[in-house]
Symmetry: C2
DNA sequence: AACAGAATGTAGCGACTGCTACAATAGTTG
DNA sequence: CAACTATTGTAGCAGTCGCTACATTCTGTT
């Protein structure tokens, strides 16, 4: 007779993916222990047991998500570089439009907001994400770019501005703005 | 003998400024009826009475704040235009660094986050703010700019990207990016 | 003054919040 | 097997949430 309950032996690490997934779907602010626990197949009691308190849980989940996103970016880096800055921008915009990334993009602005309000853990997660994004962009810059370092920073600024404008319902502002730039 | 309680005769409109001020200070997500009421000198009971429910209150407060911000921007438009795009960017960055604006900037990212999650009222407020910001920028563009319309959109994209990077603790990325641009 | 409707206070409901006390079980180690 | 620790379940606490029932007062009209 097989085990009826396979005794999953839950740990902080085994919980994090499921918690992260729930947070990606439902956001961080509104997330409370009991729904989180349900999504992870445990009880609020055990979440506190494993993470100490909710604050620490949020911090750990944020770190996990940042890491997850960074890994996804790394996996998405293609072999060859783009041919132009314009192609680089197009590439990253296409990459972030993938549905798996879209969930993250929605959460991203919540991370930015938490960072602006100095909530614990948010700033660190945001920095980790932006740093990795910058790495990714530098690797993706055209081989013959005159200033790949500055250019990557320039493009990141433009890209993030464009994505914000899209998210607030004004994608055309960004599109027209990019079209009018010298890209 | 003077009135001990001057009977302020509160209305939706007379409440909104105080509510907006409290929201600017403490954020929207965490704001609950009782603290809001205390800040406005009423009771939760009366907030529901005047606004119907919390959702509508949030929507109204958001509209009020967006209007307030738009007015502040309008008031800040100088007489003469800037001499260069670079000066335009410098002008708006200086304007938004004023302490009164800074409170708004913190809230702004919460509005963006709510917009990304499609919370009621957030998208509309964000659109109103961005549209007015764009107006302001167009008026502030250099008189001899070859493409003031596209240029304003380009600058808005850059500026918002830069402000986001600042808020998440990476102002240097934006600064270096802007320095490397052709502004 | 009589009344009607708007505005407000008091009290509380049921649901949910993060978290904990206490007890039971499971797994490891001697 | 015995002792011990790690893990989990049950139950609940004190506080907050949005909101409402009910009664009262206040204001303007007739």
């Amino acid at each position: 007779m097989p085990d009826t309950a396979p005794k999953p032996k839950m740990s902080r690490e085994s919980l994090l993916p499921k918690l992260a997934s729930h947070v990606l779907e439902h956001g961080l602010g509104g997330a409370s222990l009991r729904p989180l626990a349900r999504a992870a197949g445990t009880s609020d009691r055990m979440l506190i047991y494993h993470f100490g308190n909710k604050r620490q849980l949020v911090i750990d989940v944020l770190n996990h998500i940042a890491q997850q996103y960074a890994d996804a970016l790394d996996a998405a880096v293609g072999e060859g570089r783009a041919e132009s800055r314009k192609a680089t921008v197009a590439r990253i915009l296409a990459e972030t439009r993938k549905p798996e990334m879209e969930r993250f993009l929605v959460l991203w602005w919540e991370i930015v907001a938490g960072s602006a309000r100095d909530l614990p853990g948010y700033r660190e997660a945001a920095e980790a994400v932006m740093d990795r994004m910058l790495d990714w962009l530098e690797k993706e810059m055209p081989a013959d770019d005159p200033d790949p370092r500055g250019g990557a920073r320039y493009l990141l600024t433009l890209i993030e501005g464009a994505q914000m404008l899209s998210v607030v319902g004004r994608p055309r502002i960004a599109r027209d703005g990019l079209a009018s730039s010298d890209l």
